[in-house]
Amino acid sequence: MSKNMTQKWVGTLLSCTMLVTLAAACSSNSNGGNNTVNNNGTTNAGSNAPIASPAAPAVDYGDTGGLTLPLVDKPTEITWMVSSDFNVDNTLVVKELEERTGIKVKFQTVPSSQYKDKLSVTLASGDLPDIFYGLPINDLKEIGQEGGVVAINDYADMLPNFSKLYLEENPWIISSYGDESGKLFSWPVYELNRDVNHGFMYRKDILDANGIQPWTDTDSFYSVLKQLKEIYPDSYPYASKTGVGVFRDWAYGWGVGSYEYPVFYNEGAGEWQLASTTAEHKAQLDFMKKLYNEGLMDPEFITDTADSWSSKMTTDRSFVTWDWIGRLDLFYGQVKDANPSYDLRYGLPVGPTGNIRTLPKVDANFALAVANNKNSEASLKLLDYLTSISGSQLISLGVEGVNFEWDENGKPVYPELADRDVIDIFALSEKYGMWLESTYLRPDKRSVYFNYTEREQEAQDLINSEQRFEALDPVLNFTADEVSEIVDIKTSIQTAAEEFNTKYVLDASYGDVQWNEWIARTESLGVAKLLEIYNAAQARYDAAQ
């Protein structure tokens, strides 16, 4: 073999490598010269063009709750990690915030599906963004205790909105979301939730066509399903897509529901108990069993996927279900071409209590935190501004006269988005940087987010008129050790409970004997210890009130 061959190979290799390196360099150059190594948006980004120092506001920005704008004396850049599928660098909100507060916010947008992983690696590599959210609350507390994030209430005197809204009006959040020494590390979110978000729903058009009245309680629920089955013998009137979640979703109607399911707070007894072994739960299971045995409940309720369930609900094979409220309009929108009379409506709760779950008014589970660094004070003030009326309106409404106008109903209208069929918070996010996750600390009720469609409004009224809400369980505060123990026991019990519940309903032979065996089983799995931990935390909670 001649030397030429070798040279040929080497030559080819070299040229390939060169070509490819060129190509790589080209692509990375074209993203705006951001080739420097530490790209996690540290605040030392010296490549900023000098920002004109913020002049005293000649414009009235509304009620800032006592904060003076601008919030900082010199231009400051703050990094905020958010989950978003759009880049929001030059949007209205970012520009407005800079103008009003003097703070340039660099939103580090991470695609929603990978947010958690990205957050872990970012934290692990030591580059805490100035503001971030998404860690489990207990992890955040640990970080706070080690000095990684600031204790918000330590800075209360420079945070008028926080002080008023939380320290004065909702002091319980400290005992629920703070750590043992009363330090709060996560910024709460105020009144994000609607009143009614999930519930039972039914095909009004089918019921009307057959002269059936919608149910008002559990017995009439059963009777409605029975009538439907008689008229449509091949159908399974009730369908479900939540798999084992169905037990948790129905639990509120039987008084044993909780965000800590299968553990719940029994208001009457004043203690935490295991829902899965209560008499009420057995009643719920017996009711489900009856429905299943009589062919009223879809036998595939454990394995149905969202798609197969959608298919059943839109082809008259099922008529009643339980889901998120948006589905009322979503299904209609999807099938109106094929079936214009399709009408899914919200129904009254099922179960002896006749109640649905209460959604908390104040929630700090977002775990929105401020890193402990030289920008901490600026970050805190920024969050306080966003908690003020002025700031929250910017985030949830926009800037009046710039991107929206009021219509005759007092609702905002966005002329630039007139060509879109749906103006929801995603559209607003993409175009204006509004409604970015974790920035909506106090959403304005007039925002499109709270636009109820006719069906949704009907649902709201239905529940609100009779205040059909189960009491909200106290938000307990656990130490790191307690969390660790809880996770071990609770996973085992939850798995076992799911297995038992399903078998009880599906297997005709399951009855009282198996129920008693089940109760014994929970004891061997450690339920006593689990409840002991919960009740100890409850005692601490009560003492702190």
Binding site: M1, M5, T6, W9, L13, V20, A23, A24, S27, S28, S30, N31, N34, V37, N38, N39, N40, D85, N87, Q108, T109, P111, S112, S113, Q114, D117, K118, S120, V121, A124, S125, L192, N193, R194, N197, G245, Y259, D307, S308, S310, S311, K312, T314, T315, W324, I325, G326, L330, F331, G333, Q334, V335, K336, D337, A338, N339, L359, D424, I425, F426
Partner: protein, 288 residues
Amino acid sequence: MVGQRKFGLFDLFNTIVLALVACATIIPLIYIAAISLSDTASVTQGKVWLWPKGLNFNAYSQVLNDIKIPRAYLNTIMYTALGTFINVFMTCLAAYPLSQREFVGRKYWMFLIVITMFLNPGIIPNYLIVKELGMIDSVWALVIPNAIWTFQLIILKSFFEGSSSAIREAAKVDGASDYRILFNIMLPLSKPALASIALFYFIGHWNSYFLPMIYLNTDTLYPLQVVLRQMLVFSEGSGSSAIVEAAALAPQAKKNATIVLAMIPVLLVYPFAQKYFAKGVMLGSEKG
């Protein structure tokens, strides 16, 4: 094999079985494609099977009109080309010495390499090392840290082992250096092996989604899979927040359109690579 043969019973049996295999693998994809071309009502009602109902290209135009797509396609092509090249090159360099039976320390190298297949310390330590090397947010993070897949290395080494000692000895007698043996003799003779590992690496790069997501921060660098998934605003979280629920609204047709679009280039690659699996490439190398 030389000469024509009659189409016998065996061939009939063979053809039927393979046709079934092809059906089994193609039909689900036709199903996916059919949904991507159908109207929303029929899809929601579950009425679409192998033929689109209410044929329309809305899902495709929605996806293709997004300005991020051409850039993402380009990125993926570049990452895949560069990545596969580096992969094959590095794997060859590793497999050749290991395939020589008398290579000093061979057993030890093999053991040390093989055990890395099982020990996975998770994303965080890997991320930290990539960061230390300054490769975060660049194409290098996608092609260097996984330059060699132990699995492919073992396969290639096993192919090289087939006849390489005899070849090497003969060549050494002729005075050839190992470099020359590797590049001028072994590689041309190992086309099927190289093609197969190249194909595996290609598929790996093309499908990769998680690592680009973790290592890249700038959205103009995102490859196709990442951008496609972003478009679906797809959230599998079961949080009670209404916002999370609203996010899971991606229509089925659009989801499926993204799948089809990601798959089309791959469909074109295999037939191209297939010619390297032609037989008889190691003609006469055994004679000696």
